[in-house]
Symmetry: C2
Subunit: 139 residues, 2 copies
Amino acid sequence: MTKKPTALEARQEIEKRLQEAGIQPTAQRIAIAQYVLTDADHPTADDIKTWADQNFPKMSLATVYNTLKILVQSGILREFKLPHSDRVIYDTNLSHHFHFLDEKTGALHDIPPEELEIKPRNSKNWDIRQVHVVLVGRK
Amino acid sequence: MTKKPTALEARQEIEKRLQEAGIQPTAQRIAIAQYVLTDADHPTADDIKTWADQNFPKMSLATVYNTLKILVQSGILREFKLPHSDRVIYDTNLSHHFHFLDEKTGALHDIPPEELEIKPRNSKNWDIRQVHVVLVGRK
DNA sequence: CTCTTAATTTAGAATTATTCTAATATTAGA
DNA sequence: TCTAATATTAGAATAATTCTAAATTAAGAG
Ligand SMILES: [Mn+2]
Ligand SMILES: [Mn+2]
Ligand SMILES: [Zn+2]
Ligand SMILES: [Zn+2]
């Protein structure tokens, strides 16, 4: 049984992850990474800015975008847009998965790949690199 | 064997379709609808504006957007965005289908539903209203 | 420590897709 | 032919994101 990490331990863990990815762990980057990786769920840049405004002395919107770009480039985050929205969504779930968008609440839920079977039939022998699936409905 | 419709017949066909949908068939609307419904393939608003600039005496960008909105509202078109782009794509294929995005060319191809089996092993009994699938890769 | 340089952050301007506004033009139909 | 409703238009406004160039901070050599 592993103990729940203290706030300090969590911060150090994040810091190590940034280091390992070759990212200088500045205060802003640690804060954003911590929020995105441990608290947020499919946040947008605006979600992160809002959080930062309440939990960090001062952070510019440019830094939010800069940091997110770095995290995406180094493979710590993924980004995508939903078919009906124009905001980028950041996803910490790097493993292959799909999404369910609750029409009512706007909440976005992960669907593990084993819950949705996707089989190309008349196998056209395409080289498929990404499979984006968004189910929209209500629970 | 049905004859290929003349340009005039095609235009009248479009006009009738607008009428039936309760849309006043103005010159601009007929032109846009004709292009989108018979020539274009998954166009963006910008594609349509570019076409109009070359094939219609004068059309404002606002009219392009206004008309597209009307066509979507009346169910003649569908709209969506791809996960990596920020432009709306208009689709005349109203039947349930999926998309394949060719990474190399940027071309978007329809995938008929029978070519892709999507089975929710859904113990969760969700009410799914829309299924968006975009495969990204190369042919 | 203390410079010096490189990296990061920042405010605000720029960009892009889209929507809005309010004036003008066109249409329908009495 | 008039009138009212509808459609079109140019350009301003908006929203998400990126860019710019200056200020701040961090790293590392001495
Ligand atoms: Mn959100
Ligand atoms: Mn296009
Ligand atoms: Zn996810
Ligand atoms: Zn399509």
